[in-house]
Subunit: 130 residues, 6 copies
């Protein structure tokens, strides 16, 4: 029993189309990514996730590029193949150079290493951080 | 059998003291964090980790604040209590405002959510990202 | 060096065949899934895992469908592609509708998000929960 | 540098109070949990998270108890101490008996075990699940 | 609502006592760890987990010390505080020296780092490993 | 936007070639694995990771085989497909028999299971381990 196929614009309900239209307008793209076409099987989830994502990823105290790199850092840590591919592309589109990508990966790698060293050595939190 | 106690500067070998001295000089602090005092039980690991961290966290294509926020994003995703406490403090010291912290958390939360939605819906990678 | 190939029924030892037979009888299926054919390289692990799984997944205080959905929730959180595919199929076979699947994914996504918000904001446990 | 203290109702802005009031009304509780008091430092995140959670956790194709148990399954898998404590309490309040809790834990444990066995044996997805 | 208290030997049912007795005899200890006293709320889970653990951790192709160090490696990677504490103690009891512990931690840290680098750089599996 | 292609020896800079040469000499192999060819896009990361890995994986208080099995245990727990494939091969090359692999997987599976049981039952650390 395979997963259900993606929902294309031509087959979408008006409620789903409204979200797809907003994604395309906001991102200035001709079509939405597979993620949205699969999530469209649950229109309430599609609306809620897009609304939240749009609000969260808009430039604010942090710029769009920094936010995309944080997204990549989480996705790499979780090992989500789809998310690594799509958000690495989004970060590059937002201006991430290859040098920036290399440094991002280096920080992610080091953080994953020292997270485990702190666990294993059972390091208590310093009073200054409590 | 408790974990071994931290190694304080006064009890440290010359090899360990050299690392502690470099940390204090680089970070302009009076004493090193607990992390280094516990890792000092393995002087080779202490040297290697500090040398790597110093190289990786130095400003380059990414600035120091962005790197600290990426470190926090990974530590929060992994649920490492020590690392969340110490790197949130480091990020604030590097200039992270409370508004930036709020946006950082929002991106980390959303990325963790959509990572799982992509897994669960078994979304194939778009040809454009391959 | 590829992983060893799966062990098919015709090539299996009597000990492995006994487990395969019990799986087929219990689940009313013509053949066992790949998982069991690979695990069969370690007959003790095969026996132990099947015996445990059969005991745990049998209806009790929780019905079979609820148990399969919990299995999917864990597998999605861990990002185990094989387990997501096989247990989503098992949950559908046990009666999970597409509406139920959508709600399951929404809860899994939200739980993964708020788990990280609780970590990042370093929220102490309320006295009422201690 | 400790985390900022929780925001109590008496010190909250009207925007935060409106969310707190809705949580108290919806859950029929005298005060909100620590999670909301810490998240209140980011009123937009507070609103968005509560609105999403209220929508997702409302009974639908799945009942409230099943949803709370799925929340516990994710939180236990991620090792989020706060979330385990608060959602175990919520599940018990929604009717989870101790026998149900025991079965929930058994399924979560088994799923985490077999997720890793599937990874380690590199089991390919069966054609029937593709 | 706190978790239920541990079940002590004097208050245990005959079924639970039989498991506790076997743990004490096998490990040559005066009392069982908290883990077993909490799991005793579900006697079937207690029996199944102890029987599995006893079988798996017995010396075979791998000796007891190697097995305990692997247990620590997993527990540190998952960030399970209880399991890190109890299995580090068990590994030391089985002969792990402080030098061995240091090397164990170093490998665990490096593996966690390179796991993420492989994810982030999207490294395809070499034909030789397929 | 696909990931950048791997860097082959013939196209590598002298700095990258020096690392590739050392890997080939140390491991007595004709070519380096894909991991190194992708990491070569960041020569500083390539040097630092190889130097660290070479130091950490060299026989010391733990032998090479034990270290490779620990590496597999972490990679299986994290679900890193590339790392599972490459380090399972490395462990076999270092002498891991199929019986040892089976026991390794069994310990990894059991540890992942009991890690979650300890989380879910909220087991406090025994005084003896503190």
């Amino acid at each position: 029993m395979p997963p259900r196929p993606p929902i294309e614009y031509r087959d979408a309900s008006p409620r789903v189309r409204a979200v797809f239209d907003d994604i395309k307008r906001t991102r200035q793209v001709a079509d939405v990514n597979n993620f949205w076409k699969y999530l469209a099987h649950d229109p309430a989830a599609l609306e809620r996730t897009w609304t939240g994502l749009k609000e969260i990823m808009a430039p604010g105290a942090l710029d769009a590029l920094t936010k995309e790199m944080i997204y990549v850092a989480v996705s790499v840590t979780n090992g989500c193949g789809y998310c690594i591919a799509s958000h690495s592309a989004a970060a590059r589109k937002a201006g991430m150079s290859e040098a920036m990508f290399g440094e991002l990966m280096a920080v992610v790698g080091m953080a994953n290493e020292t997270n485990r060293l702190a666990n294993g050595y059972r390091v208590p939190i310093d009073p200054a951080f409590e």
